[in-house]
């Protein structure tokens, strides 16, 4: 058996016996993913959307006001919103304050008459002050309806002006086209996009796994500095073992610890009675884990090569791991649109790991995660090479 594997095997036995690696590698990420899922799962699950709940107070009961209610009921039938009817304004307001609905529509007496006589009819949208987006959406549904009504009236008025005819029922009757068609001058065509983003449960499972991976891997890498401190490294160097084998042994150990921890977490978080995370295509997940663990080994190797003592490396490693994790968006997704933060985040392996898993979401093929694997391997290659150069120089001393 090559010396490096022998060293790795001995260390692995030691580490598995020490509960520290188990706490960082399995217990902490599992418990935290579970708690985060509990806290954030209900609040921000995109699948439940905004859950728009509206009320209607129609004091007018005219044909036109009922037509608007009809539009809302149509939207309710499509599952876009829910609609409650109330008899008076005060009841709607109470429902909003009690949080039963996000907002309610108030159509006052005389609404239908005003539309026909050219008055200034309004639909009032009275919303919960803490639900601005839902209120805005409710208002825009009313606005869309209003612009339909307005379009028809504008079409009639423009025609009348161009022909210098007063607007009378006879004039409207004489038009060859239906004025309501004026509302259909445009079309908003729907394109559906695939989902390349993780659901909340998987997001936190993956986020905590990659966050704690760096601590777990560190247990392997730090072994080298501990041997140096304890004087066993000098003895290892005196033995007929190459420097590559010594460093390689520690790297293999770190890699093994990382892969064991990550695989355990994938299986545990996928259990339906625990969290039921959906990690996606196994080959893709496996590739991302291997590439992700390698990047962690590289980065933590670099930390070890730069530090003087195991304690120093531990502290520096914690700083690097926490900073990269935070910036990599393991606790909350960073940046919106294409702002600076959403670009900075890709300076971390964490963000690439999460993106790779995102590509696998919703049944994506494993090939979709290949660019992310590539980025992770690049991290691993660059940091690993620098670490090797520094460590080799150090072992020569």
């Amino acid at each position: 058996m090559p010396a490096s594997t022998l060293i790795a095997r001995k260390d692995l036995k030691l580490r598995l016996r020490d509960r520290s690696a188990f706490i960082f590698g399995v217990v902490a990420p599992l418990v935290l993913a579970f708690i985060f899922n509990l806290v954030f799962g209900g609040a921000s699950d995109p699948a439940t959307g905004l859950g728009l709940e509206y009320g209607m107070v129609d004091l007018d009961q005219s044909e036109i006001s009922q037509a608007f209610t009809g539009v809302l009921e149509g939207a309710e039938a499509d599952g876009i919103l829910t609609l409650q009817t109330y008899d008076e304004e005060a009841m709607g307001a109470i429902a909003v304050e009690d949080g039963e609905i996000d907002a309610f529509y108030l159509i006052d007496v005389g609404f239908g008459r005003d539309i026909q006589t050219g008055g200034s009819p309004t639909i009032q949208v009275i919303g919960d002050i803490d639900a601005p987006t839902s209120t805005q959406i409710g208002a825009s549904i009313a606005e869309q309806y209003a612009s339909g009504v307005d379009s028809a009236q504008l079409a009639i008025a423009a025609t009348a002006t161009l022909t210098s005819t007063p607007i009378t029922p006879e004039f409207i009757g004489s038009l060859s086209l239906d004025p309501r068609s004026a509302a259909f001058s445009y079309q908003l065509e729907d394109f559906s996009a695939a989902t390349r983003q993780l659901d909340v449960t998987t997001y936190f499972a993956a986020g905590m796994a990659i966050f704690f991976l760096f601590f777990t891997v560190q247990f392997g890498v730090l072994g080298l500095l501990e041997e140096e401190r304890d004087g066993t490294l000098v003895r290892l160097m005196a033995a007929p073992i190459g420097r590559l084998s010594v460093v390689g042994g520690k790297a293999i150990l770190a890699f093994a610890l990382g892969v064991i921890s990550m695989s355990t977490l994938v299986v545990a978080t996928s259990l339906p009675f625990l969290m039921g995370a959906d990690w996606g295509a196994p080959i893709g997940v496996g590739g991302l884990i291997i590439a992700g663990v390698l990047s962690a080994v590289g980065i933590m190797g670099l930390v070890a090569s730069a530090a003087r003592t195991p304690e120093g490396a531990g502290n520096l490693g914690a700083i690097i791991a926490v900073t990269l994790g935070m910036l990599g968006g393991v606790f909350f997704p960073l940046g919106q649109g294409d702002d600076l933060l959403s670009k900075l985040t890709f300076l971390t392996p964490h963000a690439w790991f999460m993106r790779g898993l995102g590509e696998l979401a919703d049944g994506g093929s494993w090939t979709a995660a290949v660019p992310s694997m590539g980025a992770l391997l690049l991290f691993a290659g660059v940091t690993g090479s620098v670490a090797w150069v520094l460590l080799r120089r150090r072992l020569d001393r």
């Binding site: 919303g127 002050i129 825009s140 004026a182 001058s185």
Partner: protein, 387 residues
């Protein structure tokens, strides 16, 4: 006096360690900044937009969309970038404006624009916001097309007529108003909410991280050596407690002062805020010593400490305001000291309360601190005198 000496040496040891400087002083401020930048002032859904056209209609649609409160409009360079952004969740939906919309409108044809959203987001809801804005812009276009077909006038002439009439008439209006007391009032600063949340998270985290220091104190034999001097066990235990408490206080005061100076964070009534910090730090100190006395291995203690402090912070509302929790989770949250401290800060900052208003919360925190410190003192006595 000896109590203070032990306490002070604890704080000194904490400050000497460079990584502590990072975690205690730099990192919390960075996080408050990051969270303020990301979530401060609420998160509006973002709608991406790619306009392949720069004509009159495209310009009006852009202006109309940007004038809407409640959504952010983010421009994209091309269709692919927009689609990717929607798929990856960088924006919740996207609108695509094709080239030549003005010409299409003038020829009397239907102007087609694209709307892209994902099945799992709230795209359907955003669609109505975007649709209303587009409908508003397209009203004179539709009227002009109608009038052109009816009268044979040129499209430009009909459009100008329709636009002129639309300008002068109010049409069917939609008025929006709000009721209720705002949970997070507008006066709440960008960093106010996050600062209190991060304060309790980090004070507790630092206090629990102190458990490792406590274990090292024992491992290095400092505790035993102190015992061999004419120092009573009680003095050592109280001194360690003062040290842990002092460390938490140093960090807490630092975070409060700095965020007040840099980010103008409003901490409410200063006496009330100080008392929350005093009691909460004592809770942290108790928990830290209990943890440190219960483990013999500093790595295990710090692993459990990180897990506990992040987990309790999440449960206690340091990551998502408790007000947004469901009813059951709100009850669970109040098992953590974090929730009580955050409730107290909310009373001071959001409702302008004073010390009197937060007495119940201070009482609960004091009870937590007392129980934890008594347990911790008992366990620490056992741990120090263990052969």
């Amino acid at each position: 006096m000896r109590v203070l000496a032990i306490g002070a040496s604890n704080i000194r040891r904490m400050l000497r360690e460079r990584s502590n400087i990072f975690f205690v002083f730099i990192f919390p401020i960075a996080i408050i900044l990051l969270i303020g930048a990301q979530f401060g002032g609420g998160v509006d859904p973002a709608v991406g937009m790619y306009a392949a056209d720069s004509g009159r209609i495209a310009e009006s649609v852009t202006e109309e969309l940007e004038s809407i409160d409640g959504i952010d409009v983010i421009p994209y360079e091309n269709e692919d970038a927009l689609l990717s952004a929607v798929e990856r969740g960088n924006v919740q939906a996207g609108i695509f404006l094709p080239a030549g919309m003005d010409e299409t409108a003038a020829s009397g044809e239907v102007v087609k624009m694209g709307f892209v959203s994902r099945p799992d987001g709230f795209g359907a809801q955003l669609r109505s916001i975007v649709g209303a804005a587009v409908g508003e812009v397209m009203m004179p276009v539709g009227a002009a097309q109608f009038a052109t077909a009816e009268t044979g006038a040129s499209f430009t002439q009909a459009f100008d007529t329709a636009a002129g009439i639309a300008e002068g008439s109010s049409g069917l209006g939609v008025e929006v108003s709000a009721v209720g007391e705002a949970l997070f009032p507008d006066t709440l600063g960008r960093f106010d909410l996050g600062a209190a949340q991060q304060l309790v998270l980090f004070v507790f985290l630092t206090a629990l991280a102190g458990s490792a220091a406590l274990i090292l104190t024992r491992q290095l034999g400092i505790s035993k050596r102190m015992l061999s001097t004419p120092t009573s066990l009680r003095t050592i235990v109280v001194g360690e407690s003062v040290g842990r408490w002092g460390t938490a206080m140093v960090q807490g005061i630092y975070i409060m002062a700095l965020t007040f100076l840099i980010f103008r964070v409003n901490w409410g009534d200063p006496i009330g805020a100080f008392l929350i910090l005093v009691t909460f730090s004592a809770v942290g100190a108790g928990a830290g010593i209990l943890l440190g006395a219960s483990f013999r291995n500093d790595q295990q203690a710090s692993g459990v400490g990180v897990m506990l402090s992040i987990g309790l912070a999440a449960l206690g509302g340091s990551m998502l305001p408790i007000e947004l929790f469901g009813p059951t989770m709100q009850k669970v949250a109040h098992l953590t000291p974090h929730a009580w401290a955050l409730d107290a800060f909310a009373e001071l900052v959001r409702r302008g309360g004073t010390t009197v208003d937060i007495l119940p919360e201070l009482g609960v925190l004091t009870a937590y601190a007392t129980v934890l410190l008594i347990l911790a003192a008992w366990r620490l006595r056992v741990a120090i005198t263990r052969p």
